[in-house]
């Protein structure tokens, strides 16, 4: 009893509170605003960890907003997978924020910093809410909040590329959420409920009575989440948005925001839809093939990029494909791999974007071909880049291998070795575009040709943490894997 019971709501309250507080703080007590944001993110993280521990002890539990139980009130639900998502979101966003404090000074005007903190906290809050909520309409609202604030942390840097990219992102994600809302309307029409569990209870009957309705709804859900999460042919907004944004925003967007929608699709598929629906229509097949195409084409597109951040953005399209592959394979092992990749990719892609940010901060370079010899002048940054890329390729000792291993194993488990081939081929493609950068950065004979500023310690420490985290995930993956396996059992 006591305060700990309210942690699910308190996490959201704290994040929303700090997001509204930070413009005021920034106006009056400028020095306190950044530490306050960090502190509240940290507090939220501590609560999330507590929730995780609590779930491992008592299992799934719910929190009713305002004390109203499900048919009337909003329900927050915590189980292992949700707690895992929550921790991933909060930990990675805290980590990115530490880096962002320095980088933003360089990339943004000072007077918008307070607003940046607001938007950042809003993105985090909406993602945490998406991980926690057990209500379709809440999911919709949170998706919209996330979309707006995610667009805003792109367009806050007021140059033309950012504005256009975020406009495009906004329109597409508005279309996506429009589709989602239509799908929700269709589900609501036949079930009369918004709560996941209740919908799940009534859907099997509803599917039999109104099959067409549910078919349309499932297609709409796929398109909605696919657009938001940059599933392959719907990824068109991503490269511009992620490449033009300020580096911390890119890290945030590529690392977390697209993942949470993959999680949303997972929830819709495995918590809301009844098994009979998934078995009767090939939803999983669609996801599988779209994600495989994404894995291959994302890598191929990344190969021909000349801009570093753009290359990383295209690589994200490939990597989100792995997460979707895990969801589509419909197998506990593969899904474990997918969720593990979600964490690993959140860390490694954020770290790579941070490295790109450091490079831009210190030298102003964005082109890949100019990076020759940069390893001599920015050793720690480039070592971080190396470890991140190694994890992308799946070299032993990094987290990337473990997730690929589980995905491939799951694909074999259900007898689809073709997806193993796709995973491995994409590893090779990843090697083809990451390796030359590393090799040129460290092994080029010529000296680095551009002026270099000193790297602030505040930017290096997050990179070092990221390196340690990736290697740690590659070496001691067991606890996370066990957690995921236990958590996923609820859904099968």
């Amino acid at each position: 009893m006591g305060l700990t019971n309210h942690f699910p709501a308190l996490i959201l309250a704290i994040l929303l509170g700090i997001s509204f507080l930070s413009p005021i703080l920034f106006r009056w007590v400028r020095k306190a605003s950044a530490p306050a944001l960090l502190l509240s993110l940290f507090l939220a993280l501590v609560m999330a960890v507590y929730l995780l521990i609590q779930t491992t002890q008592v299992g799934e539990f719910s929190y009713y907003m305002g004390g109203w139980p499900p048919p009337w009130g909003i329900e927050l639900k915590i189980n292992l997978i949700r707690a895992y998502m929550l921790i991933v979101v909060l930990a990675v966003s805290l980590w990115i924020m530490v880096y962002a404090l320095k980088d933003l000074e360089h990339e943004l005007k000072t007077d918008v910093l307070g607003w940046y903190y607001t938007l950042y906290a809003l993105v985090v809050a909406s993602m945490a809410g998406m991980a926690l909520t057990n209500d379709l309409f809440n999911l919709f609202v949170l998706m919209e909040i996330c979309a707006i604030s995610a667009c805003a942390i792109i367009s806050i840097k007021e140059d033309r590329a950012c504005l256009e990219a975020s406009f495009k992102y906004l329109i597409l994600s508005a279309m996506g959420t429009g589709c989602f809302l239509l799908g929700v309307a269709m589900v609501y029409m036949v079930t009369g409920h918004m709560n996941y569990d209740l919908v799940n209870e009534y859907l099997p009957v509803a599917v039999e009575q109104y099959p067409n309705n549910m078919f349309a709804a499932s297609a709409l859900f796929i398109v909605a989440f696919g657009t938001k999460a940059a599933l392959f042919p719907l990824h068109v907004w991503l490269p511009d948005a992620h490449a033009s944004a300020p580096s911390p925003s890119s890290a945030m967007l590529s690392g977390l925001v697209i993942k949470i929608y993959a999680f949303g699709l997972f929830i819709v598929f495995y918590q809301i839809f009844p098994r009979s629906l998934l078995d009767s229509i090939p939803l999983n097949e669609i996801i599988l093939w779209l994600s495989s195409m994404g894995i291959m084409f994302g890598s191929i597109f990344a190969m021909v990029q000349v801009d570093l951040k753009k290359m990383l953005a295209y690589s994200s399209i490939g990597q989100i494909g792995y997460v979707f592959l895990g969801i589509g394979l419909d197998d506990t092992i593969a899904m474990t791999g997918g969720f593990y990749h979600l964490l690993v990719h959140a860390i490694m892609k954020s770290m790579l974007f941070m490295c790109a940010g450091v490079i831009i901060y210190t030298t102003g370079i964005r082109q890949i071909k100019q990076l020759g010899g940069i390893g001599q002048v920015l050793p720690i940054t480039m070592i971080a880049f190396t470890i991140g890329s190694a994890s992308m390729i799946g070299i032993p000792g990094t987290g990337g291998l473990i997730s690929k291993w589980y995905l491939a194993l799951g694909a074999l488990e259900i007898g689809r070795p073709i997806f193993v081939v796709i995973i491995l081929a994409s590893s090779l493609l990843n090697a083809i575009y990451y390796m030359p950068i590393i090799v040129n950065a460290f092994m080029q004979q010529e000296e680095f040709a551009y002026e270099v500023k000193a790297v602030p310690r505040q930017m290096l420490i997050p990179l070092i943490i990221g390196m340690i985290a990736i290697v740690f995930l590659g070496v001691f993956s067991r606890p996370v894997i066990v957690l995921l396996e236990n958590g996923l059992q609820l859904f099968f």
């Binding site: 709501a9 308190l10 929303l16 509204f20 907003m65 004390g67």
Partner: protein
């Protein structure tokens, strides 16, 4: 520019604005009794402020409520919402709980009834009204700056 149309607009809006504002406040504080509530009322109230600023000019509008005040109010309204929720926790109920947290319920149908709903609606009204004003200022000022940029 004192053209006739301008005068008509100004006088009318000066006349109408207080009534709109009163109506907005009415909608806000009767949110738990009749259709409407924080969002609708706030939008009405904010529209009145925008109307004034549109029909006169920015300085007059700013005299009513300045950009800074609006943005502070905006944050304050939202914060108030969150704090109301937290008060419920402090009172020993769930987040945003109303009756179970011990907010006074009053007589059904009276103005002061429905406990926290009233407070929440009030804060929402502030938030929405000030947001509309802030948005308006943002867009208008952006336009102004663009004049310099060209």
């Amino acid at each position: 520019m004192g053209t006739l149309e301008n005068q008509i607009v100004r006088i009318t809006s000066r006349l109408v604005a207080p009534f709109i504002q009163v109506y907005g406040i009415y909608v806000i504080i009767h949110g738990h009794l009749s259709p409407g509530g924080g969002f609708s009322g706030g939008a009405i109230f904010g529209a009145s402020l925008v109307l004034v600023a549109l029909s006169f000019n920015l300085e007059v509008g700013a005299k009513q409520i300045s950009h800074d005040t609006a943005s502070i109010l905006e944050s304050g309204g939202a914060l108030g919402f969150v704090i109301t929720g937290l008060v419920a926790i402090a009172l020993g109920a769930n987040f945003l709980a109303n009756q179970s947290a011990g907010f006074p319920m009053g007589q059904t149908g009276q103005l002061f009834s429905a406990g926290a709903i009233f407070i929440i609606t009030f804060f929402l009204g502030i938030k929405v009204a000030s947001t509309i004003v802030t948005l308006f200022y943002n867009i208008i000022e952006g336009e102004d700056k663009s004049g310099d940029a060209h």
